[in-house]
């Protein structure tokens, strides 16, 4: 089960989200706004943002290449349960029988509960406080990261119990 790509898929998602969080620094210009009056600092901030954006883009491309190779290798070894990189359905769902469907449903229930609580709370915080754009993007990415983490931990717990 450790070799099952569907099990490790949330980890890939989390890695992509972390890179997006770094990339967001480059796309949002909150640092420049803060130091607008001090031109020298502004230039340094822009250089930093540019570097982070470039580094994140490279990291993203490298990770997506590794991901596609890993996916291709998994599909070659498991012709009966191929995963499409363009599937609309989350590939991490493990529903090959009723037991696996049961634990997937439990994990999804936990994720749903997390989203139900977190998104309205986050929307309220954004409405009440003047939060910079970068922090809003990081907040959304944190929710996405949390959702993957909850799903992965729940599935891992069940499958670890089954392995004992």
């Amino acid at each position: 089960m450790k070799q099952d790509f569907r099990m490790t898929y949330p980890l890939w998602n989390m890695a992509f989200i972390l890179i997006l969080a770094v990339m967001a620094v480059g796309f949002t210009s909150s640092f420049v706004n803060v130091t607008k009056t001090e031109s020298s600092l502004s230039i340094q901030a822009q250089a930093l943002e540019g570097f982070l954006l470039f580094a994140a883009l490279i990291a993203y491309l490298v990770l997506i290449t590794i991901y596609l190779f890993a996916l291709q290798s998994y599909n070659r070894k498991n012709p009966g349960k191929k995963i499409s990189p363009f599937s609309m359905r989350p590939p991490e769902y493990m529903e090959q029988d009723e037991g696996m469907t049961y634990i997937t449903r439990k994990a999804v229930q936990k994720v749903y509960t997390f989203i139900t609580w977190t998104l309205p709370f986050f929307a309220l915080i954004v409405m009440l406080f003047p939060i910079p754009r970068l922090l809003i993007v990081w907040g959304i990415l944190a929710v996405a990261f949390g959702q993957n983490l909850i799903y992965y931990m729940e599935m891992r717990r069940h499958l670890k119990e089954a392995a004992e």
């Binding site: 009723e98 037991g99 049961y102 634990i103 229930q109 936990k110 509960t113 909850i150």
Partner: protein
């Protein structure tokens, strides 16, 4: 962060948890009697090894169809394989 910890510890369905505790089975005992591994028994009834493990641990209550298939594979009546234990 706190909501994350809360969700991790959250039990989605209390009724299901109670029912799980009530349903007992002899799958592990009978499987051992016939010398089947979890994978072998799983293959016979067309489920994964993990599902057999979940049933043996009482983590998951199988459907009637699967319970009947398991009883057939282990050559017992379904009532001798699964039963309810009153709380």
């Amino acid at each position: 962060m706190l909501s994350l910890v809360y969700i991790m510890l959250y039990k989605p369905n209390i009724l299901m948890e109670r029912m799980k505790r009530m349903l007992k089975n002899r799958v592990k005992e009978l499987r051992a009697r016939y010398g089947y591994t979890q994978s072998e028994l799983g293959k016979q009834v067309d489920v994964t090894r993990q599902t057999i493990a979940f049933i043996e641990k009482g983590e998951f209550s199988p459907s009637i169809t699967l319970a009947l298939k398991l009883a057939k594979a282990l050559q017992v009546e379904v009532g001798d394989l699964f039963w309810l234990e009153e709380e």
